[in-house]
Every structure is written in C-alpha cells, then in structure tokens.
Symmetry: C2
C-alpha cells in the first residue's frame, strides 16, 4: 500500500482469481475454461483482420456486436449491453443501481465477486444461506428491501433453479432489480431466463463468452434487459470507460455469436463428459452436487478439500478449493476432455 491509498480502498478485500500457471505442466481444471477451441469463425477473424484498422477507435456503441448478440438471443439491440467480460457488466450493475449504504442480497455460497463489488460500492451485503443441501429456495428471496443477485446455475455448487422459480422471485420483488448471472447457462439445457425479459422489466440477465463459447482470453460478456436498464448500464460505461471493447474482441464476439451449432456441439460434449465423470467420482465414494455447469463440486469421503487440492496439484492436476466454512471440504473440478477426466480419476485413484 502506498501512503496515498484511500481509507475505503484500503478496506477492500480484492477478488483472488484461480491460479493461472504460466507453464503448461498441469491438467488445468481450476478456472472453468473450455477444453475445446472457440468456433472456426474466430480463426477466420484473425486471418482476415486488418492491422491498419487498429489505429482507429472501436465503435463505443458496439452496435454490430450488440446486434449479433441480440439475434442470438432473440432480442433487439437496445436490450443488449456488451461488456469486457461479464465481470465488467457486473461491476457496472453495482455502480448503476445502488446508492451508498443500500442493501444487496445474494446467497452465502456463490460467486465471490459479488461481495467484492458490494464493498467497492459501499453497500450493505446481505447473504441468504443456501439450504442444507446447497439448493436455493426462491421463497427465501421474496419481498426483499434491496436488489438481488443470483448466479443460475450457481457457482461453485453448479446447481440450478428453473426459470419458473426465478419468475417467482421477480414477481415477489416488483420494485427490485434482480440480476441473474447465467455464466454457465449454456450447459443447462433450456434453463435460461432470457424469455422472461418479455414479461419483466426488473430482470437483468448476464452472460459470458468465456465458458461455453471458449473465449475466456478475449473478455466478452453481455447484459440482457429492458432498454431502460441497458441504457443505465451505458450511462455508467460512458462515465468510466467508453471504449470498453476493442476492435478484435468485437469481431471475434460477432463470429462467436453466430456459431450456434458449434455451441450446441461443444456444450453437449462437455455435459456428457460431466455426467459421466460425476458417476465415476460417485463410484469412488465422492459426494457430487447435481451440476448444470461445466464443473463438478465434489467432496471426498476421506480427505479434506485443501488436502485434495494440494495432492492433486502434486500429481499435475489443478482444481480449485474455497476457504469458506460450508464448502471447505469440496473441490471444484472443471470438466475437461474425456482424456483429462481419465487423468483426474487416475490421480484420485492413486491417492
């Protein structure tokens, strides 16, 4: 810390991303990246991109990408906000829809960044415990006095609620904005809340191109909501970083938006590998939560979470473990290729 750091900034507990080892020695199952490459259109963008064009600013309205995303989701462009990863969209949400001291509600076990944004914006974070079985009960979220953030499917549990359950939360908080973080929704067939946008103006759906579209390296995400809500996010963007997506991210995002068959293909493969791996882990005595994502949240019958993480790392397999009390016995395992899952099961067998 420098002697100039503000009191508020000094009190922050920043997010700690998963390890990003710079060598390639690990079977990397710790940050929920896709084991498959992005769609072929991405390679064509790189081949055809004109370096000279990079001297010009990108379109700050990002209209071409927003239109491509809108086409993909069956929306209009004014219902789409394009962000530098879904994290940036989340950050702008916290900056747009809260005054300092306001309350924000989210589950006790969920994506750790919500608590960081809460601190950053000076809000009062109210956590609602997941039920004993790590499920989210919609009725725990009825009639709240603050906006609501839920990840669906949730992370790191991997468990999902249905759009009908989300709808109950929307109906029971008509004066509150409900953000549904669908980072992993493409691995949960037909569970997206996007169709609810036709009925509810208090819903903001956030998605990312980092997981199912295999573009974590390019930082592309979106917010989907009523045009007025999207306009509010744009207001923050134009007050913070108007050119938030670079020219290549925009072109690559457009290519990925159009590749719906490819998306089906790789998410289908990953879901199949996931379900197979879950069964194999259960045969080894593991408790594995029912996952609708590209990862499994699993507890060994004999060894603690940190110990399992550490010993798997020694064997060249990188998974993620969390320090929170209720989940410290679990590890989160990204679903990789079938071969990577063989390596995982083998490494566990050796322990």
């Amino acid at each position: 810390m420098s002697r100039f750091l503000s009191g508020a900034a000094g009190r922050l507990a920043p997010y700690i991303p998963g390890e990003q080892p710079r060598d390639q020695q690990y079977v990397k199952l710790n940050t929920n990246e896709s084991p498959y490459p992005p769609c072929p259109g991405v390679r064509r963008v790189l081949e055809s991109a004109n370096a000279a064009d990079l001297r010009l600013y990108p379109d700050p309205d990002v209209i071409a990408l927003r239109q491509a995303m809108a086409d993909c989701y069956g929306l209009s462009a004014d219902q789409v906000f394009a962000g530098g990863g879904s994290d940036e969209v989340l950050g702008f949400f916290f900056m747009a829809f809260f005054d300092r001291g306001d309350k924000v509600y989210y589950p006790d076990i969920t994506y750790g960044f919500y608590a960081v944004y809460t601190q950053l914006c000076g809000l009062e974070g109210k956590t609602i415990p997941l039920r004993e079985d790590y499920s989210l009960a919609p009725e725990d979220y009825f009639g709240l006095d603050g906006n609501i953030v839920i990840a669906n499917p949730n992370a790191p549990t991997g468990m999902a609620i249905s759009p009908a359950q989300v709808e109950l939360i929307l109906q029971n908080n008509p004066q509150r904005l409900v953000l549904v973080d669908e980072a992993y929704i493409d691995f949960a067939k037909d569970q997206t809340c996007v169709p609810l946008l036709a009925k509810y103006d208090n819903l903001l759906v956030v998605q990312t191109y980092s997981k199912s579209r295999a573009l974590a390296g390019m930082r592309i995400g979106c917010g989907l909501g009523a045009p007025e809500v999207i306009g509010d996010l744009r207001r923050i963007k134009y007050s913070f970083n108007p050119y938030n997506l670079d020219r290549l991210s925009i072109l690559i995002g457009i290519a990925a938006s159009a590749a719906r068959d490819y998306l089906q293909e790789i998410t289908g493969k990953i879901a199949a590998t996931r379900d197979e791996t879950k069964a194999r882990l259960e045969q080894l005595g593991f408790t594995v939560l029912p996952s609708k994502t590209n990862f499994l949240f699993a507890r060994s019958p004999v060894i603690g979470g940190y110990e399992l993480y550490r010993r798997l790392k020694e064997k060249g397999v990188l998974v993620r473990q969390f320090e929170k009390d209720r989940i410290r016995d679990f590890v989160r395992i990204t679903v990789g290729t079938p071969e990577q899952m063989d390596r995982l099961i083998e490494a566990i067998g050796e322990l």
Copy 2:
C-alpha cells in the same frame, strides 16, 4: 433511465466521445487517431496468433506486457500498471486514491473525463483556471489540499509544461499524489516526466498506446509510478475486473512496446506535418496555440468554433469543437497525413 437507476448514477453527466462515423466518407480529424498504421509487429501478431489459445484466460498480472513496457521506459515491471486504455487507468486512480468528498484539482480547460470521474466517485472537483494565454502556471498548483491531475501536454490546448515545471508541483505537494496524463507526450520530444519517478514517489505518469502507437482500436494504456502506487491500482483492478486486458491486446501491446524506431519515425512525421499545418493556418489568419501533440487547437479570425466545425463537416472534414465558454471559438484538428492536411486547408479556403 429505468426506475431502478440510483440517485448518484442519475446525477452523472457522462463523457461524450468524439463522433465515430461508421462510414468512411470523412477526412477524420476529430479523435486524435494516428494517420499511420501500427508497427509491423502488430500484423505479425495477427498472423501468428493461435485461435485455440483464446479459450484460456489471459494472465491477470499481465506480467509479459508490463515487462515489455518497463523495458521501453527504463523501469521495472513493478513500476508499471497495464490498463484497458489510459481511461481505465484514470478510472482506477480515482477509485484508489480518494475517499468520498475529497478534493481533486485539475485545470479548468483539460481532458473532460477528469470531471466525470470526479462525479462518479463523489469527489469535490476544484478547477484551476489556465492563464489568459491558456498556459498552465505551476505555482497555481503549490500546496494544495487534494491530489492533482494534469494532462501534459494538455488537451485540447496542446500546450506543454517542462518536466522541471512538473517537478516544482511535485516538490510543493509532497503529501499529494500528482497524476500526469502523458497521452500525447511522444509528440513532445524529451518532455516526459518518467525520469522524475526516480526521485518522487508522489508521481503517477499515465500513457496510452492509442495515439503515438496507433492502437486506439486495441485499448492499451499504462500507469507508471512507485511500486506501492502501482500496487494500489492493482488492488482496485482485482476488485473490479481482474482480467482487464485480453490475450490479443497483451500480445499486440508487447509488439508495439518494442518498436521504438517505428515510434520515432511516425511521431517525427506527425510533428513535422503539425508544424507545417500550423504555419499554413496562421497564414490564413488563424490563431493556433503552440502544440506539442498530434493535434492543433485553432481559432478562425472570422467564424465561430461550432460554425467552423459544422461547415467543415459539410465539406467532408471532421474536426472537434467544445462547448466550454473559454474555448468555444476554437476547433481541435487532429494532425493527419500531409494529403489530409491539404484537404483541410483547401476546405477552409473554400469557406
């Protein structure tokens, strides 16, 4: 505005970027982009980039790019923060070094975004008028009770103060952090304050790859300062958007950092065109401030700023005009190629 917008966000007056027309019909001299392409290494990055790698997150520490920048500036990597354009670095500065209600000082005529960040962070913005001739007098900034932001060279005036003058401001505000925004410094030979970092820990220099390095399209900027100050910026980044630079921006930034001869070549060409264009405008009776940048701030002897902007636009030449009282008679003209400057002078001649 949606019914969920917060009071604070509703009071923001967002930044308005220069027009980005989507067709190519204009001689575009309004956003200070380079008329020359980025260095040849950028094209090679595009040719050799591996699309499959984009499935993986970028390095959140951005160590390879920070090292390349450090080599370029004669610093160590821990003195370098890499941002998504200099705007993001500025935003993180305002989030790191102020508590709400704190004062921040900057000139009355300068980059308009400082006032936007001031609002966004709930600070008290104190403007210090430039002198009658639009020069910045260092003694106006001595002994202030808040951090200080100056653009050097300043925008949109284009005028610079010397490193010795900046040093006086640093010496006379030992308890305050002084941000020197050097977005245009590569067009002002030997005027950078980077060498002052060896003596002062209360200096943060911000630079961008958008102007002199011809990469506005890729959003690359940096903050250069004491390791503790850089650490504070990283603290905010990890509380807002840890993966703030994508894989291609990182690779392209590394290529551009190494291209020092090319940088000299194109900034030299642009400076020569600038000085020549200034003389031609003066022959036409214009008042032109002494520019150390890649733009000219010029006032017609017979026509107001908005009127000049409007009529040049009709003739296919896009320049920028600002509404502020003290400068409404000026237009800001980006220095383009000699051919583009011929078009400009021709269009002015026709008026």
